[in-house]
């Protein structure tokens, strides 16, 4: 049963900061959340991810917290923007724009009822961001049962371009519940590289939904890296709406311990002559459970679609599990669509080769595991971020590989 009292209490605490009209729309969203509830396994798209465990919790909104030292995450040559517990250092107003069809009505309504504006980026015609924008999204919590809800929006007008990093970091061991939605609109010829790094604390339940609407000849590269969390669900949806639009959706999920990571992606070809590429790598250590569901939809009339999707998985832990489903849904005939999924072990002959060269077994295994993940890591074009993420992966993997030597 959904703990409506607790959510109502949290909502009442939020009320004083809201304007009159906002109170009405948000309380309508809260009621919508109460009637839709949280997703459970009987919903096909949540077959492997159950959020009902969160229903009974008495979650309260997280409060502002002082900023911890940011040295560990500060990268050179970029603009840094800071969000702590859902609060921006300098509050910005939320941008208007379309709200996409949610992956789950209940989750979306919960987010809409409580969300604070997170990243709100708008670039005018032909404006290019000179430096990457590095958004540090921290949750700093020592008391349990707190929740953070964020709503981000990126809008690039015709010909604008940007590189944005959404970097989620969890500090403290307390249990927390974080939802985030991100709406992206790319006008004709706009270009966006978006990198999301999910590195939440080990007691985090998180839902993240990104939807991008991509117009004529615009392009997006979305890279998703999952390193942390307890129960994580990402819904990433790229809608190719104008002729000649292109998208790349790539990523790496590497859960360990008892983490559950579920990536659901949708690439929808709504217009002809669009190109999409999707390459994911997945690893699961210990007793981790990873889910990948990649759906490619070609709508009627989206002729000359060129789409390719590859997903490679490595189950490492004895008790680990990976469920992968590359889906194709095709309603046009003149298309080139291929997808593939593999599950395998590290190549024993490669391992043998390294051993004959005097590389100790543990190091050889780490090297091969790293090279498996490198396919995703090397897609980050900003060198200092690539180095940062690579070091993060090596730390996650453990072992004695020297990051300096590999980079």
């Amino acid at each position: 049963m959904l703990n409506q009292d607790a959510y109502t209490r949290a909502f009442e605490a939020l009320l004083p900061s809201l304007s009159g009209s906002e109170r009405d729309t948000r309380s309508a969203q809260l009621q919508r959340f109460f009637s839709a509830g949280l997703p459970n396994r009987s919903i096909e798209t949540f077959k492997y991810s159950d959020f009902t465990a969160l229903a009974e919790g008495a979650f309260a909104l997280a409060l502002k917290a002082p900023s911890p030292s940011l040295d560990a995450w500060t990268l050179p040559d970029c603009t840094q923007q800071l969000l702590i517990n859902g609060h921006a250092a300098t509050p910005t107003a939320a941008l208007d724009g379309p709200i996409s069809e949610p992956a789950h009505a209940g989750l979306a309504a919960l987010n809409a009822a409580f969300a604070t504006p997170g990243l709100q980026l708008q670039l005018e015609r032909n404006v290019a961001l000179e430096q990457p924008l590095h958004v540090l999204n921290l949750s700093v919590l020592d008391t349990p049962a707190k929740m953070i809800h964020l709503r981000h929006r990126i809008r690039l007008e015709a010909g604008a371009s940007a590189t944005v990093v959404l970097h989620d970091i969890g500090l403290g061991d307390a249990e927390r519940w974080i939802t985030q939605t991100l709406e992206i609109d790319l006008a004709a010829n706009a270009r966006l590289q978006l990198i999301r790094i999910q590195d939440e604390s080990a007691a985090t339940s998180g839902w993240f939904q990104a939807t991008a609407r991509i117009q004529r000849d615009a392009s997006i590269q979305l890279l998703q890296f999952d390193f942390g969390g307890a129960r994580i669900r990402n819904d990433l949806r790229l809608l190719l709406q104008g002729e000649g639009a292109e998208c790349g959706l790539h990523g790496l999920f590497a859960p360990a311990g008892g983490t559950h990571v579920d990536n659901h992606t949708v690439i929808e070809h709504q217009a002809p002559h669009c190109v999409s590429r999707e390459f994911f790598r997945g690893l699961a250590w210990d007793k981790a459970h990873a889910v990948f569901n990649g759906r490619i939809v070609v709508q009627p009339g989206a002729q000359k679609t060129d789409s390719e999707q590859r997903i490679a998985n490595l189950v490492i832990g004895k008790g680990a599990e990976i469920n992968a489903k590359p889906e194709l849904e095709i309603h046009a005939d003149d298309v080139k669509c291929a997808h593939g999924a593999t599950f395998g072990q590290l190549d024993t002959s490669a391992l043998f080769y390294l051993r004959t060269r005097g590389v100790p077994e543990a190091t050889a295994l780490s090297l091969l595991t790293f090279s498996f993940a490198a396919d995703a890591l090397q897609r980050i074009s900003w060198p200092s971020l690539r180095e940062f993420v690579t070091r993060r992966f090596l730390a996650r993997m453990g072992g004695d590989l020297d990051a300096g030597e590999l980079l």
């Binding site: 590359p326 849904e329 005939d333 291929a338």
Partner: protein, 496 residues
């Protein structure tokens, strides 16, 4: 309940016995009323426990089987119809179906070939089917005394010499109750899914095959030869058991389109392979697909599952699905024995308004189990086609291996092809590959064939056959030839 009670009992029924068939029928409550005489071979439409009891009584079944049916029926009542399949159809009214009828209702069957739909006859001619057989397939009420009967007799003799049991499941219930009781429902439990539960409650007939230890069945078994049991109705139940080190190849169905007035087919097929046994199950399904506008046609909701129970056993499914308005079918393998092998080869064709959601499940439990999936989907007209497959590797399945390939061919811009391959991997040593492609017939290939003087329709048929070759080569020879022709006929009018 008197074990030998039949509907033809001339004795006055004991009105105090609530299980007596006539009382059962009289006590029926629903509004449709009870009009049919109990001596008739058709039960009135509707489904409740009395109908299940009446079917069991009519078939003179032992108590345990009635129990099985009732358990299934009670479970079915609590189940909801599955809606996850990627098919659209109006809701089915399960109370408007008659759950037991004589093998063939002679009353509305055509009296001669002249009365049969000329389109159907044209198709038969193209497939090269002899006139006598055409009559039978079209359901003409003729006395079927021709070659096949004698074929059937010689064939039965040969089988019994080898010790193979091949009969209808009703016959097997009486002749070999210990075997049926041991294996029935052991692969597809009575509450497995909505349609399997429905089938378990009301199944009327089907085939039973038992291959004893070490025997290689001397011929391909086919329902085709069991003329008398051919029209087994809409709820078939097939059970094939292969004992240690035995081998059998079983063919189901027929390449010619069958006249069939039933709307819903919910069959269950169970295969059991013990140590070192091999079962090869081939299907060519060509039920009435409905017309160009999607009016009529069969709903084919089938549960097929094989259990590789012993080490080194093998189960291979081959299917060619060209008929039915809606197909919902996932022939599966449970790879329980170490080193056991599961195979699934499928060609599914949807034309006009046909919809198919078909695929397989490979459940790897034993060590070093291997499975291969090759699925070819062809969509034309407004056809919608989905491959839905599951490969599950359990922690015990050390060294499991799977190869999956599913390709779709689209003919026309109004059709759809979809792929939903589920994989659930819980063992680090598993190696899996999944490949899928979707394309249309290449203009270059078509142009090449046309420059060589090959007509457009023939060229398309050639290319489609090439596309399906990997599956056709798994079919027994005669079947493969017919399947090719069938594909050609089914695709007529798809191009140009």
């Amino acid at each position: 309940m008197p074990a030998n009670a039949t509907f033809n009992d001339t004795q006055t029924p004991d009105s105090s016995d609530p299980l007596d068939a006539r009382n059962l029928m009289r006590n029926r409550t629903y509004a449709a009323g009870f009009v049919t005489d109990v001596d008739s071979e058709t039960l009135p439409p509707g489904l409740d426990e009395d109908v299940v009891r009446a079917i069991s009584l009519r078939k003179n079944e032992p108590e345990w089987l009635l129990e099985f049916r009732l358990k299934a029926f009670r479970r079915w009542q609590k189940m909801t119809e599955p809606l996850w399949a990627n098919v659209q159809y109006p809701p089915i009214d399960y109370q408007s179906i008659s759950y037991y009828s004589a093998p063939k209702s002679m009353a509305n069957a055509p009296k001669s070939l002249d009365e049969v739909d000329p389109k159907l006859l044209e198709t038969y001619t193209k497939l090269g089917i002899p006139v006598q057989e055409q009559a039978m397939l079209a359901g003409v009420a003729v006395d079927m005394v021709f070659d096949s009967v004698s074929v059937g007799t010689t064939f039965k003799k040969k089988l019994s010499e080898a010790g193979v049991i091949f009969c209808s499941i009703s016959e097997a219930v009486h002749e070999h109750p210990e075997l049926v009781r041991k294996y029935l429902g052991s692969v597809v439990p009575f509450g497995d899914n909505f349609y399997a539960a429905l089938n378990s409650a009301v199944f009327t007939d089907g085939s039973f095959v038992f291959i004893p230890k070490g025997v290689r069945c001397p011929m391909e078994l086919s329902t085709y030869f069991r003329i008398n049991e051919r029209n087994t109705g809409q709820f078939e139940r097939t059970l094939i058991v292969a004992e240690e080190a035995s081998h059998v190849s079983y063919l189901e169905g027929c390449t010619a389109p069958q006249r069939d007035e039933n709307q819903l087919h919910a069959a269950v097929v169970e295969l059991v392979a013990l140590d070192d046994a091999e079962i090869k199950y081939s299907t060519v399904q060509n039920w009435y697909p409905g017309d160009e506008n999607g009016v009529g046609g069969i709903y084919n909701f089938v549960t097929k599952r094989g259990d590789c129970r012993g080490p080194r056993s093998k189960i291979s499914w081959t299917q060619v699905e060209t008929g039915s308005a809606i197909t919902w079918k996932y022939p599966s393998c449970i790879l329980r024995g170490d080193d056991s092998v599961g195979e699934f080869y499928s060609v599914a064709l949807t034309h006009h308004r046909q919809q198919a959601d078909t695929g397989t499940k490979m459940i790897h439990i034993g060590r070093n189990t291997r499975s291969t999936i090759v699925s070819k989907g062809i969509s034309a007209g407004h056809g919608q086609q989905s491959y839905r497959g599951l490969v599950r590797v359990l922690p015990s399945a050390e060294g499991a291996r799977n190869y999956t390939q599913c390709d779709s061919l689209l003919i026309g811009d109004q059709c759809g092809a979809h792929t939903f391959p589920y994989t659930e991997i819980r063992n680090p040593s598993a190696i899996l590959e999944h490949e899928a492609t979707t394309s249309k017939i290449s203009d270059d290939q078509l142009f090449y064939a046309r420059t060589r003087g090959i007509g457009e329709e023939d060229a398309v048929s050639m290319i489609v056959n090439g596309f399906c070759k990997a599956v056709f080569k798994e079919l027994p020879m005669e079947f493969a030839v017919e399947a090719q022709k069938l594909l050609q006929v089914s695709l007529e009018g798809a191009v140009g």
